[in-house]
């Protein structure tokens, strides 16, 4: 729900008040960064994605419908920005053979699990990865995820389930060892 304060900040932002915009969106920076970092696996790229998403949010604020929640609307922009970044950077991606992590890293179970989960997620389609990140990293409800990806809660629930099955298959060996 949009509180009176949020609605007021929105109105002032739409009138061009940059500080009101900052008060409205600064609390969402961390969520935006966490989503971008999980999607891009790179903190620097994630900063850039959120920065660009904020600029787009400012420019497209007139498309926001009063009465809705700002958080999923902003996370949609961040997710799209991550996709654009990936698309724009295709030329810089070099396909290498599967790189074995250093032996020391593999001996640390926490590091090995982190690397395995990131690698497994990278092998999933973008939408499946997005659903899992929103659900299990940003702890969002199916209703809110539906607002981000433009689908009904029921559709999100089944899609997330299918994405989780694929993740388990990709992540299987590591998960089995736990």
């Amino acid at each position: 729900m949009v509180t009176a304060t949020t609605a007021e900040l929105l109105e002032r932002s739409l009138a061009g008040d940059r500080l009101a915009f900052e008060r409205l969106f600064r609390p969402l920076y961390d969520d935006g960064f966490r989503l971008a970092a999980a999607m891009l696996s790179d903190a620097s790229l994630a900063e850039d994605a959120v920065q660009e998403a904020l600029l787009k949010a400012w420019r497209k604020l007139y498309t926001f419908r009063t009465g809705e929640d700002v958080r999923p609307w902003f996370l949609t922009i961040v997710a799209n920005q991550c996709r654009s970044l990936r698309r724009a950077r295709w030329w810089s991606v070099q396909r290498l053979a599967e790189v074995e992590p250093p032996a020391r890293a593999r001996q640390d179970p926490a590091v090995a699990e982190r690397m395995d989960l990131e690698a497994a997620l990278r092998r999933l389609p973008r939408r499946a990865r997005l659903l899992l990140v929103l659900r299990y990293y940003l702890d969002m409800s199916f209703e809110d995820i539906g607002l981000v990806v433009g689908a009904s809660p029921a559709a999100v629930k089944s899609s997330t389930h299918r994405a989780l099955v694929r993740l388990r298959a990709e992540w299987g060996p590591a998960e089995a060892s736990n």
Binding site: R18, F33, A38, A43, E47, Y62, L85, A88, Y137, L164
Partner: protein
């Protein structure tokens, strides 16, 4: 794995990524910089209407004037029409923020250079360090920019399109009829960027057959420079932006106001590497300039030199050294802390070459080696350098194009006319 374990696994995997402490501040500063543009909330429709109205006015005027930047008439034989002896410099139609420079020079090495003059489209080539020059014009129309893309090929933007000039074959090939590219920054003969007359940045990857507009977080743009495949800087009257990721995202580094009393008309950046660079902001015709320097890739820009009595304090920002009055053109960066620029007195028709070797804190200037009649009107001179070789080109209304070459960093000059 249980649901709650999945949440924990994701946190373990991704909580290692943290934004830098100042990242949110920088992000909102970027919004502030973008907010000064024409696309802020609540202004979008007004901005779009204004743009539409401006386009309508521009096209109406173009029709009335017979297309101001359309190709000039050709003779029946298809040769370029001969310009009058002293034609006036073209007046840009409304909406055109970038005017072509009247004189141009592009250096390949200390022996090979192309010089050109925008109003008649004349292009001259030297392969002997400026001892002799040979006309090589094969394109038509006004000349906008020249750039070497390899040892044998230059891209040349003109009023009739974008051309490839092949030196060994003395051959011209038109890549595209697009005729609004006033500044080129190509990587090779098929790919690169350009700045348009309207101040947009455009990119091509198919030898100019198609161009896509790129948002660099700044508009209008007057200058663009790539120093690597990932890093570039764009400059315009409203400041400087840069990209570290091949143009996917652009960050504002310097924001200048558009003040009621006047604003920057032309901005230029020059980097020798990813850390050291200069920027020059020209505050209107005859109004003076300010030169900034950075040694950290633009994270901090310091105003070093200015014609300080002719520019507002928000632009000079306490710059300590004085530059001669006049219109400044062609900032040429020769080393991390060294640069050259040309100071033009358009009414007297004279020019000086000023040099700094300490990041712009001190400048030494000497008159250009052209003897011109007193009170001879001219446009800005063009300067290019490669090592100790400096090439200076000037177009003086009453005497025509002038060339000067020095191979000892300006100590002695050889002058001539094409």
């Amino acid at each position: 794995m249980e649901e709650r374990d999945l949440h924990q696994a994701f946190r373990t995997a991704f909580d290692v990524h943290r934004p830098r402490p100042d990242a949110p501040d920088r992000a909102f500063e970027r919004v502030a910089a973008g907010a000064s543009g024409a696309y802020g909330p609540g202004r979008r429709l007004a901005g779009a209407s204004a743009v539409g109205l401006a386009l309508l006015v521009v096209f109406t005027l173009l029709i009335v004037r017979g297309a101001a930047i359309a190709p000039p008439a050709s003779s029946p034989a298809g040769r370029p029409s001969i310009a009058p002896a002293t034609p006036p410099l073209p007046t840009p139609p409304p909406g055109v923020v970038n005017q072509p420079q009247p004189s141009l020079v592009a250096v390949l090495d200390e022996h090979v250079a192309l010089a050109g003059w925008s109003r008649d489209g004349e292009v001259e080539l030297t392969v002997d360090g400026g001892a002799t020059w040979k006309p090589v014009s094969g394109q038509q129309g006004q000349l906008f920019d020249l750039q070497w893309v390899d040892g044998d090929t230059a891209v040349v933007s003109t009023g009739t399109g974008l051309y490839l000039f092949t030196r060994s074959a003395s051959r011209w090939a038109r890549l595209t009829p697009r005729n609004d590219l006033v500044h080129l920054d190509f990587t090779d003969r098929s790919a690169g960027f350009a700045v348009t007359a309207a101040g947009d940045v455009v990119e091509t990857s198919d030898s100019g057959r198609t161009f896509a507009i790129r948002d660099v977080g700044l508009h209008p743009v007057t200058w663009l420079q790539w120093v690597s495949s990932t890093r570039a800087w764009a400059a315009g009257p409203k400041g400087i932006t840069m990209t570290r990721d091949g143009g996917a995202t652009w960050v504002s580094q310097l924001t200048l106001p558009v003040a009621p009393g006047g604003s920057v008309e032309h901005a230029q950046v020059g980097f020798r590497d990813e850390a050291n660079g200069f920027a020059m902001f020209d505050y209107g015709p005859g109004g003076g300039s300010v030169v900034y320097h950075t040694a950290d890739g633009g994270a901090t820009w310091t105003a070093e030199g200015c014609t300080c009595d002719a520019v507002p304090t928000w632009l000079s920002l306490g710059a300590a050294s004085m530059l001669p009055p006049g219109r400044h053109s062609d900032l040429v960066v020769t080393a991390p802390s060294s640069a050259l620029l040309v100071v033009n007195d358009p009414r007297a028709g004279t020019a000086s070459v000023c040099a700094t070797t300490d990041a712009g804190r001190e400048w030494s200037c000497s008159p250009a080696p052209f003897t011109t009649p007193p009170r001879t009107e001219s446009g800005p001179a063009a300067l290019a350098a490669r090592g100790p070789s400096w090439f200076l080109v000037h177009d003086v209304t009453t005497t025509g194009p002038l060339l000067a070459v020095s191979h000892d960093t300006g100590a002695t000059w050889t002058t001539g006319r094409p």
